[in-house]
């Protein structure tokens, strides 16, 4: 049992601290979470606002205590969520400056079906029966490309023809598969997602670092919104590129205000240069497909428009856009970064290029990367022509009829896909990752000489440099993290902490905190974020409160938050049905930080050990 007098004292202390630091409209909730008289550590306590547009979350400490101060008041919902326990939700009325105490008692799941429903996508995926390792690898690479598989939306049982139609539709959205892989994936999904409960045993390791953390989510757009990437501006606002609606979303985290800025129209059909593909591609109902976003020193935001083969600038001061067209043979401008000289660099995935844009001269320079084999060269030379012909037959998916990815049995090996890109802070060189070719490459910024290196793990995706010039690379296909020393050309690899041995993660992006050196990595199949501490080579995992959280580029704010966009495709597959901006404050949010007493890390570990041991028995 939690000691009642000490709990009361704890709450009073917390409320006192809170009252000192709150804004006028803030309210505070504090209390404890327990089950069977024992405190639950690491429980996510989330407060939802009245309109369902805001969600703030904290974790309970080893004693099951929590405290959360929110800047929204009125009729709110509070939910306690702990893995393996039933959610408990309560409605409360929180008035301005109110301080309430609220305790939760959670009950362990005892019904197999309910427990199964509560498990993340990674647990459900572990049940898929694979005919071959090749087909499984193709599934990991291609079917988790921009969304989870195995969540409530995607694990709905269907007949084999239904799954075949789904796989076919996904191929129209650029899942690149051979016919054999498509058939195997269809069969695995049909046989694996049969509606029976999953009996996974997952280990959620509690870390006392969670106690200080706070997560804030701001819901944005509608069920078809696809905020691909977010970046933080000099004004500390978050800007998100909505590939679904040709819109830039602007979030003022202080006020919670969200503004929508529409890109100018362009003389292209819906789908842009990809109008011959199955439309809408996912939920892309626009022509530009704004994808990646970065801010230059003059304050302008630069946006790659994937569908219209263009680059856009957006001035946050005047809210004006300007378009720079690349030419329709340069297919799918992708990740964008800006070097110290203000030069804009971005990858062009489907044509195996890196573009360099000088904002002063407004001129592009296209750097063609090594093809890496005959079939990849075929892709690069013929794909633009095929897409051009396909555009004569809108929405008919004609490229799938003629592609050598099928008739030459190449699958996604037919494309190298230069994807993530970053600038080496030491020498200004440009580094990129080739997602399908399993390579990273260096472009000399002066001579444009290109050098490539094979990666030890597969699926190098959105890489980033640390301040010392080490390159950190997420291995999407191999649930891993890679570190590349650009001086010695040596790799070091790390396995991400999985919830169970037969699960996997698809780390899409990472970023290195310039102050701490910690590497923040998306998990994406299990609704978590990882923090890797290079000094100790250890991971801290932060479970996230919203199911089906699929994160993209990660950015850091001045108030020490790591932020991203929750952009599972489609957004209506996310719990709650909408996309969001999400920020994790590992040390609490400045101004609302409370000193939660932690008795000892050892105590926390022993509590969690007992929970996990109990899970094993179940």
């Amino acid at each position: 049992m939690i000691n009642r007098p000490s709990k009361l004292l704890f709450c009073l202390l917390l409320l006192g601290v809170q009252a000192f630091s709150l804004s006028a409209k803030a309210g505070t909730l504090a209390g404890s979470v327990s089950s069977g008289g024992k405190p639950l550590a690491g429980t996510m306590v989330t407060v939802f606002d009245t309109a369902g547009k805001r969600r703030d979350t904290v974790y309970t400490d080893p004693n099951g205590h929590y405290s959360i101060t929110v800047d929204f008041i009125g009729k709110l919902q509070v939910r306690a969520r702990t893995p393996y326990f039933k959610d408990v939700t309560q409605n409360i009325d929180l008035s301005s400056d109110a301080q309430k105490s609220f305790d939760f008692v959670q009950e362990r799941h005892s019904v197999a079906a309910e427990l199964s429903e509560s498990l993340p996508a990674s647990a459900h995926l572990s049940t898929l029966p694979w005919a071959s390792q090749d087909s499984r690898a193709a599934f990991v690479s291609q079917c988790n490309y921009c969304h989870q598989v195995g969540n409530a939306l995607t694990r709905t049982p269907r007949d084999e023809a239904g799954w075949a139609a789904t796989v076919h539709r996904m191929e129209g959205y650029f899942a690149v598969l051979t016919n054999r892989q498509a058939q195997d994936i269809t069969k695995a999904l049909y046989q694996g997602f049969d509606g029976k409960e999953v009996a996974a045993v997952e280990k959620y390791l509690f870390n006392t670092d969670l106690v200080h953390a706070r997560i804030k989510e701001w819901v944005v757009g509608d069920g078809l919104t696809f905020v691909h990437d977010a970046d933080v501006g000099f004004d500390e606002h978050l800007y998100g590129a909505d590939e679904g609606h040709d819109v830039i979303w602007e979030l003022d985290r202080k006020t919670g205000r969200i503004d929508e800025w529409k890109e100018p129209d362009i003389d292209l059909p819906v789908g842009g240069v990809f109008s011959g593909m199955q439309l809408p591609i996912g939920v892309f109902s626009g022509k530009h497909g704004p994808h990646s976003i970065a801010q230059s020193a003059d304050g302008r935001l630069w946006i790659t428009n994937a569908l219209s083969s263009s680059l856009a600038s957006f001035d946050p001061a005047t809210k004006k856009f300007k378009l720079y067209e690349l030419g329709h043979s340069h297919l799918y401008p992708h990740t964008i970064r800006i070097d110290k000289q203000g030069i804009i660099w971005f990858t062009i995935v489907a044509s195996n290029e890196v573009a360099r844009f000088d904002p002063k001269t407004e001129q592009f320079e296209i750097i063609r990367l090594p093809d890496g084999g005959f079939w990849r060269a075929v892709s690069h030379y013929l794909f633009p022509t095929v897409l051009k012909i396909a555009s004569w037959f809108p929405q008919q998916n004609m490229p799938l009829a003629v592609t050598h990815t099928k008739w030459a049995f190449q699958g996604h090996d037919a494309f190298p896909f230069p994807y993530g890109i970053d600038v080496n802070p030491i020498d200004g060189s440009i580094w990129y990752a080739k997602l399908y070719a399993n390579k990273i490459g260096r472009i000399d910024p002066v001579t444009r000489e290109v050098t490539e290196f094979d990666t030890p793990l597969k699926g190098p995706r959105r890489l980033r440099f640390d301040p010392q010039g080490n390159l950190w690379i997420p291995a999407f296909d191999d649930s891993g993290l890679m570190k590349f020393d650009t001086r010695s050309h040596r790799f070091e690899t790390f396995k991400l902490p999985l919830l169970a041995h037969n699960e996997y993660e698809v780390p899409y992006a990472l970023n290195v905190n310039p102050k701490t050196g910690d590497v923040w990595i998306t998990s994406n199949m299990s609704d978590r974020i990882f923090r890797f501490i290079p000094g100790t080579k250890t991971f801290v995992t932060y479970p996230l409160p919203t199911r089906v959280t699929w994160l993209r580029d990660m950015v850091f704010t001045k108030d020490n938050a790591v932020c991203s966009s929750s952009s599972n495709l489609p957004a209506y597959g996310i719990e709650g049905g909408l996309a969001s901006f999400i920020c994790l404050y590992p040390d609490g949010e400045p101004g609302t930080k409370t000193a939660t007493p932690i008795q000892s890390a050892g105590a926390a570990q022993s509590i969690l050990a007992s929970i996990n041991a109990s899970n094993s028995k179940h």
């Binding site: 016919n179 004569w392 037959f393 004609m398």
Partner: protein, 114 residues
């Protein structure tokens, strides 16, 4: 089938013609062999038309779920079902196309090597 779909299938088939020809190589070789052997007892025009038909048998396409053309014989060998009327129509169109193409090739070769 509307005109746009018909044009798309035509465009796909033209783009994929080299691959269809590769698939049809055994039949094209058979057609050449027939043409050579039958010169003793058949006239040139008859041999030409029948050899074109043999080649067309190996090239005549059917279309999979992706609208990708694969010769009917290959799809039948793979265990797929192709409807009889479609097979007949595809064969006839291909026969005409192969005959016309072979005729044109013959004329060009004859002009180059009189």
């Amino acid at each position: 089938m509307d005109l746009q779909s018909l044009s798309m299938y035509a465009a796909i088939t033209i783009l994929m013609a080299p691959l269809l020809a590769v698939y049809g190589l055994p039949f094209i070789a058979g057609a050449r062999g027939f043409s050579y052997l039958a010169q003793l007892w058949l006239g040139e025009r008859s041999r030409f038309v029948i050899a074109s038909a043999i080649a067309a048998l190996g090239i005549a396409p059917s279309y999979d779920v992706y609208k990708s053309p694969v010769p009917i014989y290959a799809r039948l060998l793979d265990g797929a079902e192709v409807s009889g009327p479609f097979m007949l129509a595809s064969f006839l169109v291909t026969w005409i196309a192969v005959t016309a193409l072979a005729y044109q090739i013959g004329r060009v070769l004859a002009r180059r090597n009189p």
